[in-house]
Amino acid sequence: MSQMLALVVDDSRAMRMVLRRIVGGLGFDVVEAANGQEAMEAVEAGPIPDIALVDWNMPVMDGLEFVTAVRSRPELRGVTLMMVTTESEHGQIVRALAAGAHEYVIKPFTPDAIAEKLALLGLVPAGSAP
């Protein structure tokens, strides 16, 4: 069985490294993008990721714009979208979910919190640990 692919989208290389370690430890192959535009280019170049973990505040194209762009493309309907961000206002969470994000994680997070969200999405078995 081929490994699932995770796309980590964050303008901070440090945060991309943190998320790479976590989802890599859960068995995903990982590709990275530093903003929404780079992420769209990666998705269009393929392979299409199984999940994208997406920061909100980024230069060039922010996370909400990326989520909206992915959801506007029928061929990308299989991409699961998880926001991973410091933005925690209720209105922003509602906006992200309405735009098509499946899950929302607020920084700071623990590796177990990411694993639990991925399990809820059916992407890893329940109880998986990075």
Partner: protein
């Protein structure tokens, strides 16, 4: 008009503890309260908040502390870190601390990308006044988080 209540040093300490505990070594490496420092730390990162409340959150630390934090986040030996790595790591710490402080303030509001200064030059925050300052020690090095309220905003806030 009501005056918004700013986070106090206890709130800020909790947030810093959550961020450091999650990403910089766990509970055994949490920052400790320290006597207020009079010197300006060499590395500072600022995120600005505009909206229901307007101002800035500044995360500052010594150069050794910034290098240790970057090394832990990037899993890179300290002697192989570039200034860009340190700026990235310190900026992300400011982003997380500032974002969580923003959640305690009146919204809706917008958080900017971090502005990072390495090397001791003072960050200029015009038309704002320091409202909250928390001095900590982490790994034996000084760390400071401060909240600056806009003085041109009609909702300046008071520390609680």
């Amino acid at each position: 008009m009501t005056t918004p209540v700013l986070p106090d040093t206890y709130d800020v300490e909790q947030i810093v503890g959550d961020v450091f505990g999650s990403f910089l070594g766990g509970d055994e490496a949490l920052p400790l309260l320290a006597a207020p420092s009079t010197g300006d730390p060499a590395v500072a990162a600022c995120v600005s908040i505009t909206g229901g409340w307007s101002g800035h959150v500044v995360f500052a630390c010594s150069l050794p502390a910034s290098r240790t934090a970057a090394a832990l986040l990037l899993l890179t030996p300290e002697d192989q870190l570039a200034d860009a790595d340190i700026a990235d790591a310190v900026g992300e710490l400011a982003n997380m601390i500032g974002g969580n402080i923003k959640s305690l303030l009146p919204g809706p509001s917008v958080l900017t990308l971090p502005l990072v200064n390495i090397g001791g030059a003072t960050l200029h925050l015009p038309s704002s006044a320091e409202a909250v300052r928390l001095d900590l020690t982490w790994q034996g090095e000084p760390v400071r988080v401060s909240v600056w309220a806009s003085t041109t905003d009609t909702q300046e806030g008071t520390a609680r």
